[in-house]
């Protein structure tokens, strides 16, 4: 899959920025000095910066680490003003995230199988619809597997998406075994010469052992049917979630294995700063960010614009 480059006036950055400015209006946040970006650096400015990072869900520990590093530089006279300070922090965050910026490596042998997992309500089904759309635009034949047989009407939701983007869909009845749906989908994909199979799964909290076990079974079924698959296990994280997203990522990685992350709901005022810790702990690349509900609101993750929107 190729990355669609953001045009300089692309809406992605502007959306992130809008979200950020709205945060300022809404929150009783006092980052004025930092926001203005002018004036000398002092201890107050550093404290404000730490606050801003914590408010972006970066976590108190990590925010502290960044500020300690910045303070050291400032004392050495390397950061004369707020603009320089901001630039330095942006650089630090970009450097942390840049190595974890990579598209899904969709390539033959087909079918390339993508399993989409995550806790309840993070936006798995919507994300699948959007990814399917991107792949369809690139000319890939796509098949959606309605593996969420638990949530009422989850199958109906995926069917609407399949119709919208022009993808095939395999589904069973609600309450049926999701491994069976997956098995049938892979069979169909092989027979039809489908390039990419996107498997939707029921949301599950990472603490529910039996549901995590069920997911392992699905992975086994896939591997038995197509050796080497699933080539991608995509974990969807909700940017409005806080520190718990780190535990989610770690548990899903330990139990099931995660090869890519999608960060959704960045169009609100949540900054998703916890992905800094998530990538640090799991070393999994971030594939996409979700910035809205419409079909085009999925963008390749870009470390620099993410860093700019963070504080």
């Amino acid at each position: 899959m190729t990355i669609h480059e953001d045009k300089p006036n692309g809406s992605f950055l502007s959306r992130l920025k809008t979200g950020m400015s709205k945060t300022r209006e809404l929150l009783f946040m006092n980052v004025e000095a930092i926001a203005r970006g002018i004036g000398p650096v002092d201890e107050n400015v550093l404290v404000e910066l730490e606050e801003a990072l914590i408010l972006a869900d970066a976590g108190a520990d990590l925010a502290g680490e960044y500020v300690v590093a910045l303070r050291a530089k400032w004392r050495r006279g390397e950061l004369p003003d707020i603009a320089a300070l901001r630039l330095e922090l942006k650089k630090m965050i970009t450097n942390t995230l840049a190595p974890r910026m990579a598209p899904i490596p969709v390539a033959p042998p087909y079918p390339f199988v993508v399993l989409v997992i995550g806790v309840n309500g993070v936006g798995k089904t919507t994300t699948i619809g959007k990814i399917a759309h991107l792949l369809r635009e690139e000319g890939h034949p796509v098949l959606l597997a309605a593996g969420d047989t638990f949530r009422a009407a989850a199958i109906g939701q995926l069917r609407v998406w399949a119709e919208r983007v022009g993808a095939d869909i395999i589904h069973h009845k609600e309450g049926s075994d999701s491994s069976a749906v997956v098995f049938d989908s892979l069979r169909a994909a092989k027979a039809r010469g489908t390039h990419v199979v996107l498997i939707d799964t029921a949301g599950r909290l990472h603490t529910k052992t039996h549901l995590m076990e069920e997911m392992r079974k699905v992975v086994r079924v896939i591997g038995r049917e197509i050796p080497g698959a699933p080539q991608e296990i995509l974990l969807v994280l909700d940017a409005t979630n806080g520190r718990n997203a780190i535990t989610q990522a770690k548990t899903f990685q330990e139990v099931i294995g995660v090869t890519g992350i999608v960060l959704t709901k960045l169009d609100g005022t949540a900054k998703g700063g916890m992905v800094l810790s998530v990538t640090k702990e799991t070393d999994v690349p971030i594939r996409f960010v979700g910035v809205g509900e419409t079909i085009d609101d999925l963008r390749p993750f870009d470390a620099e614009s993410f860093a700019s929107a963070l504080f």
Partner: protein, 444 residues
């Protein structure tokens, strides 16, 4: 990462131990730990700041209760503060008015509104109400279908919403229909929306205006991070929330959002969702939530039990006696009894953070319930003089005591020996560590 938190907390709070009072010097590090614990639990930064400031002023110079060590006392101040901040008694929906009463569920996408709607309907049905489910989400594909499926699962009527209609009209029409069909509570499942989406937020205000709901509940995900305050504030300003329903509490999120939301809206948390099944809805208990946010296990329950069961004056008297080496068998019995009042030894051990793994070894060495009862019986069979001065208990007295308490002379001997040891230990304590006896329960 959270399992260790309570231990860490304990470690830091040790520096409060051995001080009779909580002072400026020994409180700062403890407050820092509280601050970090709250931030790690996703309580909003600003809320944390205000909260820790309040705790500081309350804790400074507070006289430590005799039944609690200073660190336990400090935890209690923190815990009490959080509990009262999150509201007192559990509250149900406000349905005391002419039916049908509309109830609006609002929130971000994916917070769990539709599932919560089904859960609330079941909850109302159990309370002999006649709920009516209304899917008002015309945006998300199959959202209407989802609520219809849930309704049929629990046998509750669902309004047949037209996906092309205006949600305001849907809600108005649904309330009219509820009135005609004799349903008394109308649950309006609105679409998930971003709090910064002006157009959709305006839609909520129009729905509110059209149906005049008795309750407007914000459905919020327990895993929500720092952004919880922005979301809650925006929804509150637009429609005026009357309560909060906190979902996905069956995960391991510490749920600091509960505190943040309460702090910015003042709206009580009325329910918590604790599972995917439709009966997984519970009333909200602020004290339990406080423990969860703090990640402290049940040391708080233990602290509270100690406070409830140990008479403060008696505890003070005991401390004085220990210092003067006047500790008697009677005091020994009082202590044992107050321990028993607190619950079974096993329960108590289980409440101590970090004890989880060590429970098995401890169970073997801890005195069992029966033995405690026997000891109390033996002491009860002694005369006042004997209880005051164990030295006078000679052979014939021992025989009488054994007979009176239904035990053997060996049992009496063992008790006296234990008591002597305890007495010796206390003497050493009162000479050495000085005030440590004030903590109470020197035998465990």
């Amino acid at each position: 990462m959270f399992e260790n938190l309570s231990e860490k907390f304990q470690g830091v709070l040790k520096n409060l131990r051995g001080h009779g009072r909580i002072s400026e010097g020994n409180i700062e590090e403890a407050l820092r730990e509280v601050r970090l614990a709250l931030l790690e639990a996703d309580v909003n930064y600003k809320v944390v700041k205000e909260f820790t400031a309040a705790v500081r002023s309350k804790a400074l110079g507070a006289e430590v209760m005799a039944s609690l060590s200073p660190d336990q006392h400090f935890i209690k101040i923190v815990h009490d503060g959080m509990t009262s901040m999150m509201g007192g008694e559990a509250q149900d929906l406000d349905l005391a008015r002419r039916p049908p009463v509309p109830v609006m569920l609002v929130g971000l996408q994916g917070s769990g509104k539709t599932t919560s709607c089904g859960k609330l309907a079941l909850h109302l049905q159990k309370k002999k109400r006649r709920p009516f489910l209304v899917p008002a989400d015309v945006y998300r594909p199959a959202a209407i279908e989802q609520l219809k499926v849930l309704g049929s699962q629990i046998g509750i009527p669902v309004f047949d919403s037209d996906p092309n209609a205006d949600p305001v009209d849907i809600c108005r029409e649904a309330v009219r229909q509820a009135d005609l069909t004799g349903c008394d509570t109308v649950l309006l499942d609105t679409a998930g929306r971003l709090h910064v989406d002006e157009e959709l937020m305006e839609e909520l205000r129009r729905i509110k205006e059209a149906v005049d709901p008795g309750d407007i509940l914000l459905v919020a995900d327990a895993m929500t991070g720092q952004d919880a305050v922005n979301v809650a504030k925006a929804f509150h300003e637009k429609v005026g929330l009357t309560g909060v329903l906190l979902t996905k509490m069956d995960g391991d999120a510490r749920g600091g959002a509960a505190l943040s939301i309460r702090a910015v809206t003042g709206a009580p948390i009325k329910f918590v969702g604790v599972g995917e099944k439709l009966d997984a809805l519970e009333a909200f208990f602020p004290d339990r939530m406080a423990s969860r946010i703090l990640g402290m296990g049940d040391i708080l329950t233990l602290a509270e039990k100690a406070q409830e069961t140990i008479d403060e004056k008696k505890a003070k008297e005991l401390t004085r006696k220990i210092r003067r080496s006047e500790f008697t068998l009677e005091d020994f019995r009082d202590q044992l009894q107050s321990i028993r009042k607190m619950g079974s030894i096993e329960d108590l051990l289980g409440m101590i953070p970090g004890m989880g793994g060590k429970m098995k070894e401890l169970k073997a060495s801890a005195p069992d319930e029966k033995e405690l009862a026997r000891v109390v019986a033996i002491i009860d069979s002694m005369t006042l003089a004997e209880r005051g001065n164990a030295k006078i208990i000679n052979g014939s007295r021992r025989k009488r005591i054994a007979q009176g308490s239904g035990t053997t002379v060996q049992d009496v001997n063992r008790l006296l020996k234990n008591f002597q040891q305890a007495e010796g230990m206390l003497k050493r304590f009162s000479k050495g560590a000085g005030k440590r006896g004030g903590k109470g329960l020197p035998f465990f």
